[in-house]
Symmetry: C2
Subunit: 303 residues, 2 copies
């Protein structure tokens, strides 16, 4: 059992958040915002994606963003990479870490990557090999770990096979995604316990969407099960673009409130994160799902 | 330790929800809505308040609502009562259960009730005595149990003295309120364990506001600590009227999703609750904080 009180947050707002927002943020504002995030104490920022701009036009400026942000010592600047071509772009842009991705369920993998799981694994293996040769660390995202919008329940044997395949490639961290936010704490505990047999908790992260309001309870459960790395996005960015009130990633502010309340250390300033959340809320011109941001703004009028 | 899988929900939307909304719902719509709630499987609905209409004008129609709703067998229809005068009105209107209220912190009690805690207790004792004589059960709300907007931390010795005083009056159920939604699970666990020394869990409920997004995690903790009664409001009604995105009571839908996911039984239909939430959202003409409602509407377009 992991008794450490140190928790590490992976901020994914600039990538997983903005790629799902219907309003696009212009490059200057992204840079200003990421520079602010770099000074909040966050150890890790996923800055953009090198998926082809045809698929994620909101992040077509990945090269420019990475070239122009002020990098702060101690912060890892990562980006999403789908294949060797994306990796070449990411390496030229000077990412610190490469994030590869696939799904735990066959149908979601095909819909998202246009390949079977069997055909995806060699691509990711090759990306991992080259990235490691270039001295970059590699993070693996596994989506639909706790449920799938197409298949419903995620098949556990297949999930564990895929986890093993990713770990065998030599990835440095595995992020287990509740892509559609359907898990409740009992499922999180069961899955984390199984995955822990293949992945040490130091290499495991939870990536939980707050679609059904379960993310914070699931994180509290993850902490009890020994997980100490969590993905989140400032403001709770990344909700469904067609649903005004629907939640996205768990908000970094809400995660911090939980962690600090439970006595965990993060080195991240909740107050500075609130300011960064208020900034991006203003640019997106809509209330974001973050509970702490909204209650803070209600009380203070402004941050 | 309570190993029962049966959980009882106290729906407080028509009272604690609507009293805090800036838009008032007219009497016909309230009745239609409460009639719908009565057919969802909910065992308990707090229908209105007999606090003087000067203080809660949105619920000035308490008598008419209680007179005209269709009462369903097995559903307890309760109302908030501040004093003997309010009790007379509530008894005439035929409530099944009387809910009295006070705060665990002196300053909040004075601001909310305009009396010291010492001066409040005899009033509530008298209300409880008469209500019991009239054959009504009595529920006690204790606010600011986990934190106070004026005093910050809630003083534990004083809290436990007040709990004891309320139980000695002979109330049938004590609802522990996180009025400003500041608790994290460690605090909930610590307080519930202390209060359990004075109140059996069968007589204890948690009333958690989702202001900082902690309510569901705190309920999961309450369940582990043996609590099996929870207050909630359909749609997550009851946010601050001045803050568009700020959360109110934990949403009944989100509570149900957690409970059913964890294998608890409630006899409440999540689908019917969703319809009741969509109804009141439409009448209030703004997105409510409920995660499950928003994700359902995003997916289905309508309920």
């Amino acid at each position: 059992m992991n008794s450490s009180k140190k928790v590490s947050i992976r901020e994914v707002g600039p990538r997983d958040g903005l790629q799902n927002e219907s309003t696009w943020i212009d490059t200057e504002q992204k840079i200003e915002w990421i520079n602010h995030l770099s000074r909040t104490g966050l150890p890790y920022i996923e800055v953009s994606s090198f998926v082809h701009p045809k698929w994620i036009p909101a992040l077509a400026d990945a090269e420019e963003v990475l070239a122009r942000i002020d990098r702060v010592d101690g912060v890892t600047y990562a980006a999403l990479v789908p294949n060797e071509k994306g990796l070449e772009r990411a390496l030229r842009a000077g990412v610190d870490e490469v994030a590869i991705f696939m799904s735990a369920t066959e149908t979601h993998n095909r819909k998202n990557i246009n390949k079977s799981i069997a055909d995806t694994l060699p691509v990711l293996k090759n990306v991992t090999r080259i990235a490691k040769q270039e001295g970059k660390s590699v993070r693996g995202y596994l989506s639909t770990v706790f449920g799938c919008p197409y298949e419903g329940t995620t098949e556990q044997t297949k999930l564990l096979q895929t986890v093993e395949a990713l770990m065998t490639m030599g990835i440095d961290e595995l992020s287990l995604g509740d892509t559609i936010g359907v898990a409740t704490p009992n499922l999180v505990e069961a899955v984390v316990r199984e995955v822990t047999k293949l992945v040490p908790t130091e290499k495991m992260a939870l990536h939980l969407h707050d679609t059904k309001g379960m993310a914070i309870a699931n994180i509290a459960c993850g902490l009890r099960t020994g997980v100490r790395k969590f993905d989140s996005s400032v403001g709770g960015l990344g909700g469904c673009p067609y649903a005004p009130g629907a939640a996205g990633n768990v908000a970094t502010e809400d995660l911090l409130y939980l962690l600090h309340g439970l006595g965990y250390e993060t080195d991240v300033s909740l107050n500075e994160i609130m300011k960064a959340a208020a900034y991006i809320q203003e640019k997106l011109d809509k209330p974001l799902p973050s509970h702490n941001l909204q209650s803070f703004l209600a009380k203070e009028g402004s941050v």
